[in-house]
Subunit: 482 residues, 2 copies
Amino acid sequence: MAKDKKMVESITARDVDFAQWYTDVVKKAELTGYTSVKGCMVFKPAGYALWENIRNELDRRFKETGVQNVYLPMLIPESLLDKEKEHVEGFAPEVAWVTQGGLEKLPERMCVRPTSETLFCDLYSKDIQSYRDLPKVYNQWCSVLRWEKTTRPFLRSREFLWQEGHTAHATAEEAEARTVQMLNLYADFAEDFLAIPVLRGQKTDKEKFAGAVSTYTIEALMHDGKALQSGTSHNFGDGFAKAFGIQYTDKDNKLKYVYQTSWGMTTRMIGAIIMVHGDDDGLVLPPKVAPTQVVVIPIRQNAEGILDKAGEIADTLKKAGLRVKLDDSDRSPGWKFADQEMRGFPLRIEIGPKDMEKGQCVLVRRDTREKTVVKIEDAASASAQMLDTIQHDMFERAKKFRDEHIYEADTYEEFVDTANNKPGFIFAPWCGDVECENKIKEDLAVTSRCIPFGDSRIPKDGARCVCCGKPAKKMVYWGKAY
Amino acid sequence: MAKDKKMVESITARDVDFAQWYTDVVKKAELTGYTSVKGCMVFKPAGYALWENIRNELDRRFKETGVQNVYLPMLIPESLLDKEKEHVEGFAPEVAWVTQGGLEKLPERMCVRPTSETLFCDLYSKDIQSYRDLPKVYNQWCSVLRWEKTTRPFLRSREFLWQEGHTAHATAEEAEARTVQMLNLYADFAEDFLAIPVLRGQKTDKEKFAGAVSTYTIEALMHDGKALQSGTSHNFGDGFAKAFGIQYTDKDNKLKYVYQTSWGMTTRMIGAIIMVHGDDDGLVLPPKVAPTQVVVIPIRQNAEGILDKAGEIADTLKKAGLRVKLDDSDRSPGWKFADQEMRGFPLRIEIGPKDMEKGQCVLVRRDTREKTVVKIEDAASASAQMLDTIQHDMFERAKKFRDEHIYEADTYEEFVDTANNKPGFIFAPWCGDVECENKIKEDLAVTSRCIPFGDSRIPKDGARCVCCGKPAKKMVYWGKAY
């Protein structure tokens, strides 16, 4: 068994070096690969299959709310990017420029899209004339390019995959409602499907999207106590509409500007899955998103009837709608166990000669290693039930961990002590001034993650800004972030 | 009714100006839109939904044959593109170059991928060491960029969407088998799912892919008699493997080069659907690919109970698994009929007060306009059956048209006469010399489309090249092409 585990023994322990652990898991589980393209990554089959499952489920949820998919060009002419001032200032420093097409120098350079607000605005300015044309609730699945200097697989790379929703509405209220609706959709998706608990709230002005009136966010806590911004939804008001001249004739025959939103979720979420659920033996995938949910592993597979029986069990599970693999390779059982654990498949079924004699097989959970013996004829129903339990338990475990890592601070001394010694979120009052955000970032590399929704955003009577001591206006979740 | 039809009356008739008819249909059915990005197109919801259905079905068929999806970077460093001589010569003149990233000029320029052979080779050279690592059967869904001078929606645009499969095998035989397997998969998909009959065959050396040993193709006939290359599958032999150093240690412990293939299908297929099936009233969509298969249209929808009953029918059809819309807008029935016809939804169901009295509704086929009265309780089963019939009939009709437009020619006089006067394929013997292909292209703008598989590729005894009169080596389908 010691030799069998060699392949996973080379994963660095989480508590020794979290960053190295992450790199090891990504590589050993074959999620990504390297090419000769600096700063870009390859999604290998195991990594891309996670994205396909995320995409399919998100897309289904989008469509239930009336979203329609479209596809716009990957190139943006410079003059188009320049139309909205804050937006271009936010993105121009990090775009890649195409200057030559075929054998000719382009009359105007174009950037590879870092995001597509400007293209959607261009389209909407042509397609929206009347109130009958509203709302437009479009989304696109694509890749975008941002010229990052330091990169890490899934978390930060020059090219990443995402969806970007872009909507246009007749009223400010409708735009605000859509912004919140999509933020909540992201939150529910993260919690239900990825088993990742999130804080929902609003970004401060300093942290909001370039060109937005307000930005809402979901923030997740990774195992190392750092926050990961996991999905954002922006309300643009009529700023872009004015810059791009997107007007419609209303029922009262008056010409009005539309109100817009945008919202996105990216392949970062794969990084979140790894860092929330993984352990020292590798990936631990929530059953709903796992491309392979169950691996059937025969013990002494050369013994008579074992391989056939293992195959039968796998087929029965497939027929029951589970995503199943039979590992009939010529490796040893121990190697296969370690391999399944490293790849994070949520459940394995072991069946050997002694089990077969007794008409039973053994279910082993990836998350807890708990073993359960079940009758062979109950394998499918027991597996389905256990996958539900695993999904549920993984969320509860992550939520307990997250809740245990939220600290309160009333004074800067407390704040500094927590930031330096207790990884996690710090929930603390804030005066509303960007100067305090800047000081906290400079002193501690801590940023405001979000102002929560609802009553918890309101400071207690007499509460003072944790940084400057002036009266507090808002409660803020602070943290170090990816 | 005349006024109701106004919107479709502005579609140019096919026989008056086929190119204008195409442009009109694409625009009126809202498949595409324009942006300020020259040579690129916008896929609007109706256009993108067709691509989603194509993608999902192709992807399902791919995975049944063991294909795994991956995603590689969109940028290719120039030195990587340069590694395979024929390949770079084929693509360098039509790529777009990124020369600046962020605020800095790049040390080496990179092109936006026109196709990804070089990136896959780069990956395979790192990931393939042993016979245990073979075969690799990878595919990616993405967009590519080729700097075309003249563009047409779906048929030729600077950016288009596609899938590109790239495989690596231990032997030449296995690579050849995969090349043929994927070509047949494309052919079956085109015929079964898109109701488009295709010729299957091999490209001549002149027409094959840059860097390939052999290229197989499916060729479809459009309504104007021009051919559309609809999917290609390439056998690369070990040429790329040698250029990129992709070697593996075989069971006999010897170092060997892999054999590779690639194969692709694109958003062109949407153009094929339009040009094979469309008519003077607009699109006609085969039921299997149609995003909306049935539209329920209430007649006198303000009459009591009509709208409810129409809604009930729509719900019943949805529950039966059909893709259904209820058109309850405030337009007139005539307008709605014309709208449904223009958008090509395969079937409509009409229900008015008189029908309701009789407990019936009227099914109207888009392809033939045939009306069938059915009991309301049979609406779902009758619709499902009729959609099957439409799918079947559309294929048969297209096949009959295609077969009636294949002409044979034994002499150059016959060949010239057919090329000038009879739109369609010309099946004629060829000596195998590129000079004859060049002459035919110069004289008539006709190109070799494919050499068919099987016995029909062998010329009759004594047959002579239709161009030069030398003994014929192969039978070739010739045609004018998009």
